[in-house]
Amino acid sequence: MGIYEEISANKVKTLLLMSVFFAFVMGIILILLYIFDIWFGLLGVFGIFLVVISIIQYYRGDKLVLKIHKAKLARKDDYPYYINTVEGLAIAAGIPKPKAYVIHENAPNAFATGRDPEHASVAVTTGLLEKMNRKELEGVIAHEMSHIKNYDIRLMTIATALVGVLAMISNVLLRSMFWGGVGGRRKNGNAIVIVLGLLLAILSPFIAKMITLSVSRKREYLADASGAMLTRYPDGLADALEKLGADKTPMKSATTATENLYISNPLPKGFFNSMFSTHPPIKERVARLRAM
């Protein structure tokens, strides 16, 4: 598949993911409403809520993400070399220049966000700008530029929003159960059903996460490959990834909610994190780049 076919396939996948996700979330809500014997009209309320949140996220999500990470718009006078790199690679990718942000943080990392190439931003940490040489920085920016060009940012923005909404709903239900206001009113008072409902409420955010993961890992390989196509120098990104992998500086502002945005996983490694990792192992990514 050529890159242009990959892009249209990606757009279709985004739509598919959204539909599957919406159906999944509505299904979960329906089951929960049934189990806890709540008024079914609430389903409509949740549905509208879900749609509204998704729309808000679609248009404002990038700004929110940038705000969470305290990203500042980079001025050309302060970061001429970073801005030049972004401008150059935007030309190489044939997309408009995305807004360039800087995050004051020593851990080297970078991400892209937005909804399409016309409304996109890239952000890098000051640690990345200090630790990478020009070729490596180009590799990293090219990777992010590919995420923009391939419409991965749209997919990820929406996925992040949906996981967030589901987590919120399950949170509300769990809380209300502890208050005893919702549970226990079931006519036949079946304890097993209540426990199942509880389990579902707890697990659903993770299930949702797994759905998005199945998409995001593959996107990383593709962004590596098309990034290498932009710079014509895969070793630049490979070197950068090795540096990123070796760097143990923790990222202060990263949370599980936004980890799938980054070029390398910003969270500390552990069994749980590697199982639910949004990124393929760096070793594998480097090996693929070196083989190009």
Partner: protein, 182 residues
């Protein structure tokens, strides 16, 4: 029955012609756009040159030959028309600038001046962008030319007068963007 088969085949052919024609139009427009991107960057570089010469003059007054060479390359580039001529003229600028920076190496004060360092970053940024714009242009030309030269899309290209476009060539040593390590 036969009528339907013929009609079906005809419909497929019409569809193919339409799709290929649109593909060609999209690529041709993309090439024009890519070319104007190169043009913008080349113009930026040409605009930086007088400033650069003035800065270098402040520290290395007697290097007259190189100033003349750079200025001449610049005026030639301003006059150049078409892809082939422009590429040639811009190559002359690239090599003249290379000599200029080599000369600058002999003047530590010049190298340390803030103005010069800024111009150097600006220029290597522009040169990187030229390289990237050229890469995007050439990639698009490749896709377009493939379409205009391969069978059967060649027939459609010929019928609607889509002629192959030239590549923007750079001399062998200049294929990679200028490397500036910090």
């Amino acid at each position: 029955m036969i009528v339907w088969i013929i009609a079906g085949i005809a419909a497929i052919i019409v569809l193919y012609v339409m799709l290929t024609y649109n593909r060609l139009v999209v690529l041709r427009n993309r090439i024009d756009n890519a070319w104007s991107q190169i043009d913008v960057q080349l113009k930026l570089r040409r605009d930086l040159i007088p400033n650069l010469i003035n800065t270098v003059k402040g520290y290395a007054k007697h290097e007259k030959t190189i100033f003349k060479e750079v200025t001449k390359a610049r005026t030639d580039a301003l006059r150049a028309k078409g892809v082939k001529d422009t590429a040639k003229a811009e190559n002359a600028i690239t090599s003249a600038l290379k000599t200029l920076f080599a000369v600058a190496e002999n003047y530590p004060q010049l190298k340390a001046s803030k103005n010069f360092m800024m111009l150097q970053e600006e220029l290597s940024g522009v040169e990187n962008k030229i390289a990237y714009a050229r890469q995007f242009y050439n990639d698009t030309v490749l896709r377009y030319d493939n379409l205009t030269e391969k069978f059967p899309s060649k027939m459609i290209a010929d019928a609607f007068n889509f002629t192959p476009k030239p590549y923007f060539e750079m001399e062998a040593g200049e294929r990679k963007p200028v490397k500036v390590e910090f």
